[in-house]
Each structure stands twice: as C-alpha cells, then as structure tokens.
C-alpha cells in the first residue's frame, strides 16, 4: 500500500512536483505515466526515501517515509532509472552485497540469490562483470537487486528502458507475475506497456496529477492514447 498525499517538491523557485496525490494498493500494478520531465522520477525518489519532499506526506505499508524511513526502506524494492550496478563486480557478489545491505540473514542469502537469478534469467551471465553486460541484462540485474529481499512494495522507474521488443514483453510478463501479493508502481512513457500490464493509471504532467483512474474506466469508449493526449493537453 502506498498513499501519496499533496506531495510537493521545489528546487529553489522551480517546482518539480506540485500537490501530487494518489494511492496504490496491493495486487494491482499502478502505471505511472507522463512525458519526460513531468516529475515521475522525482516522485519515485521521494517514495523510496532518496529525496525529501518540500511538503506533503507519503505512507508506504503504513509507515511514514520521512518519520520512519528505515521501516519503509526495509519493505521497498527500488529499480532506479539507471540500474545501480557496480561495474567492477560480477552478478553473484553484487546480489550478495545488495542482500546484505537489505539486512538479510546470512543463511537466507544463497537461496534468495538463486531464486532471483532464476526468475530474472541471469544464470548465463552469472560470472560476467556487470560493466560488460548488455543493457537488457543490466536492467534485469537491477530488477533482481530490487527483488532480492522479497519486498512487499516495488518501485520500478522505467523498467523496460533499453530493452528490445521481445525483452519488453518478457519483463512485463514477469512483473505481472509479481503482482498478486505486492504493491507495484511502474513508470513508463510507452502507453502500450500500460495496456499490457497495469490495472490502474496515474498520469502526471508538469508536476501535477491529471488523471488517476482504473485503466478499464479510462479506456471505456476511447483509446488510451487519446485519453492520454487529452489529459496532457488539458493540464
């Protein structure tokens, strides 16, 4: 469960996000849409506790992001826009490092690594340096890192970025498989991906939420890209 209420972020005079509110519930993938520079990454960074908000509140799994940051960080898996990889490490030591950062018990780590490597299909590149991996594999290692501690909340910033069409389908299918008992927010600017994977849509433009609705309501009687264009134009 993620509740974002009246969230604002200003950098000096410039406002990146202004009065953003929305709710994401478990079992439902929320597609976070908007043009480049609309404030998607900023909002996600605030939800994960990387950036502080200027005003507003965010609650993740019942904990306040600002007041109980540690509790939130324990429960969130986060794939930033650029996968956070150490290029001089190979896959397994990197995942072990990520698991230890998440304060996992030593005994649980090997099993967790095996599980995410299998789920993200990383066996073939297990011994390769992360710096030598293709964009698609880098993205998958980034996702494996976010999943290692089996978090109840997943924040994925453009998870399909840089993947080829086959890989995009695979990735979305995979994320859908994670949804049943998790709260997932997935940002993208590619509408067809939303149709394929999300139940709920939040459209953000110029730092403000212009649409928050179920996908099925939004596409009733019109195509998603028309609804999207209308929403952006109206903002």
């Amino acid at each position: 469960m993620i509740e974002v209420v009246e969230l604002s972020k200003r950098y000096g005079d410039r406002s990146a996000v202004e009065g953003v509110s929305f709710t994401a519930v478990p079992g439902q993938i929320l597609g976070f849409l908007g043009p480049n520079g609309a404030g998607k990454t900023t909002t996600m960074r605030i939800i994960t506790g990387y950036l502080p908000a200027t005003s507003g509140t965010v609650r993740v799994a019942g904990f306040d992001v600002f007041e109980q940051s540690m509790e939130v960080r324990r429960r969130v898996g986060y794939l930033p826009e650029n996968p956070p990889l150490y290029d001089d490490m190979t896959v397994v030591p990197y995942l072990r490092f990520a698991a230890k950062l998440r304060a996992m018990k030593g005994g649980d780590i090997p099993g967790a690594i095996e599980r995410v490597m299998q789920r993200c299909a990383l066996d073939k590149v297990a011994d390769r340096l992360l710096g030598h991996l293709s964009k698609g594999y880098r993205q998958r290692v980034g996702l494996a890192q976010a999943l290692i501690h089996d978090p109840e909340v997943l924040i994925l910033d453009e998870p399909t970025n840089g993947l080829d069409p086959g890989q995009i389908d695979e990735m979305l299918h995979f994320i859908k498989g994670l949804a049943p008992n998790r709260t997932i927010v997935l940002s993208t600017h590619i509408l067809s991906q939303v149709l394929e994977s999300c139940e709920k849509v939040v459209i953000i433009s110029d730092g403000r939420v212009v649409v928050e609705d179920l996908l099925s309501n939004l596409t009733r009687g019109q195509r998603l890209d028309d609804a999207y264009k209308q929403a952006i134009a109206g903002a």
């Binding site: 994960t48 990387y50 324990r74 290029d87 001089d88 990520a98």
Partner: protein, 257 residues
C-alpha cells in the same frame, strides 16, 4: 555494524579488482625505495669520508635514526599527500555517477555505516602501504643497529598522518560527483595543512601559536622525535573524528535538500 563491514569489504575489493590499489602501492613503495636508497648512500658516503679523516667524534654522532629513518619518514608523508587523495577520490563520486548512491541511500543502511565503511576500506589499503614500507626499517635492523623503539614510533606517526589524510580526503570526496575535483580538492587541503606551519615563523603571539597547533607537521615532528604526547594524539583523533562527522553531515544533506 555488519553493514559497515559489508560496505568496507566492497570498497576494499573495488580497489583491488582494478589496478588502482596495485598502482598506488607500487608508486608509493618504488618512490619510497628510491628515497631510502638515496639517503642510505649519502649516509655511507659521509661515514666513509669521516673515517678517512679519522674523526672519531664525528663518527660517534652518526646515527641511522636521525640521518636515514627520520628524513625517509618525512619524505613518505609527502608522498602520502599525493597518494591518499587518489585513494579517497572515488569513494563518493563513483557512487553518484554510477547511480549506486541511490541503492545505498534507499537501503535500510545508516549513514554512519556508509561513511565508516568507506573510511575503513580506505584505511585498510593505506595500512597495507604503511606496513609494506616497514620493509625499509627491517633492512636497517638487519644490516645496522638503529634504535628500534624510535623507529616504531616514527612508523606510528606515519600511520597517524595517513589516517588523518584519509579522513580529510573522505570528507572532500563526499562533496562532489567529480573525481578530478575530489582529487585536487584533497590535494589542496592536505598541502595547506602540511605547509601552514611556515606562516608561524613570520607571525607572533597567539596567531603563531594557533597556526602551530593547526599544522599537522608540528605534531608529526614531535612523534618523529620519539615523544608520544597525548596532545599530539588528541590532535590526530580530532582531525579524524571531525572530518568523519562532517562527512556524515554531507551525505545526510541529500535528505534535507
């Protein structure tokens, strides 16, 4: 605490998985070896000249500690001014550039674990360098008879200098996402700290005393003389603790801005 060691371990491994650690150690030891050789040759030559002049009083005053070890350790600290910033320059800039900073700061990890972990990783590398440079001391013990206690105190001084440099370098690296700025900023700070004592010679009164206290060289000189005074130890501890405290603040500031 466990996370601290996890971060220190990754830091240390990243030094050794690239040629960085090897190049830095090789440069430090090769130049150190050259200084050692030059000082020892000069010592032998002087000794020979005074022996030929049959001047026993002068020969009495010949001393390996004063004429080889002390200048060698002094030269090694100058080398560290250039080498330690190369150890610390990647600490934070690489994380920020590579996006891994987001991983660290969104994981349930305390900022103090990040700062101390990185510092500890760097410290182990610098400790290895100082220990390896102990080889020069061992050579003197094997072939001459220096005063061992004095030599050990000197190496302790070298390690204290290295640790203080490392803490300052860690702080400066936390300010930027650019390795060149981190290197030059640290180099500048360390050189200032090393040479600020020069000012005290032209100043008088309390200003001179303050500058003498701030100057890291003053404290190092005392230790080189074989005197381990609490006031010098407190000085080094203060530099390390204050630098790391400010680093903590600087990392945390991402969360206030």
């Amino acid at each position: 605490m466990r996370t601290l060691f996890t971060i220190a371990g990754r830091e240390l491994r990243s030094y050794f998985s690239s040629p960085v650690a090897w190049v830095l150690m090789a440069a430090f030891l090769a130049l150190g070896g050259y200084f050692f050789y030059a000082l020892l040759t000069a010592f032998n030559q002087m000794l020979m000249i005074y022996s030929m002049m049959r001047n026993p009083e002068m020969i009495e005053r010949f001393n390996l500690n004063d004429m080889v070890m002390r200048p060698l350790l002094q030269n090694l600290t100058v080398l560290l001014i250039f080498i330690v910033p190369a150890v610390t320059m990647r600490m934070f800039p690489e994380e920020k550039r590579g996006g891994t900073y987001e991983l660290l700061l969104t994981s349930p990890v305390r900022v103090s674990d990040i700062v101390l972990g990185k510092f500890l990783g760097g410290f182990l590398l610098v400790l290895a360098m100082v220990l390896l440079s102990g080889f020069f001391g061992l050579l003197l013990i094997a072939y001459g008879n220096p005063e061992i206690r004095l030599m050990l105190t000197g190496y302790l001084g070298l390690l204290l200098m290295a640790t203080a440099f490392l803490a300052l370098g860690t702080l400066i690296s936390s300010f930027t996402d650019n390795v060149v700025i981190a290197y030059v900023g640290s180099l500048f700070t360390l050189l200032m700290l090393y040479t600020i004592g020069w000012m005290s010679e032209t100043l008088q009164g309390p200003a001179a005393a303050v500058i003498r206290y701030v100057s890291i060289t003053e404290h190092f000189q005392e230790i080189l003389k074989g005197v381990i005074d609490t006031k010098d130890l407190i000085y080094f501890a203060t530099v390390v603790v204050v630098s790391l405290f400010l680093t903590h603040r600087s990392v945390e500031s991402v969360r206030w801005r």
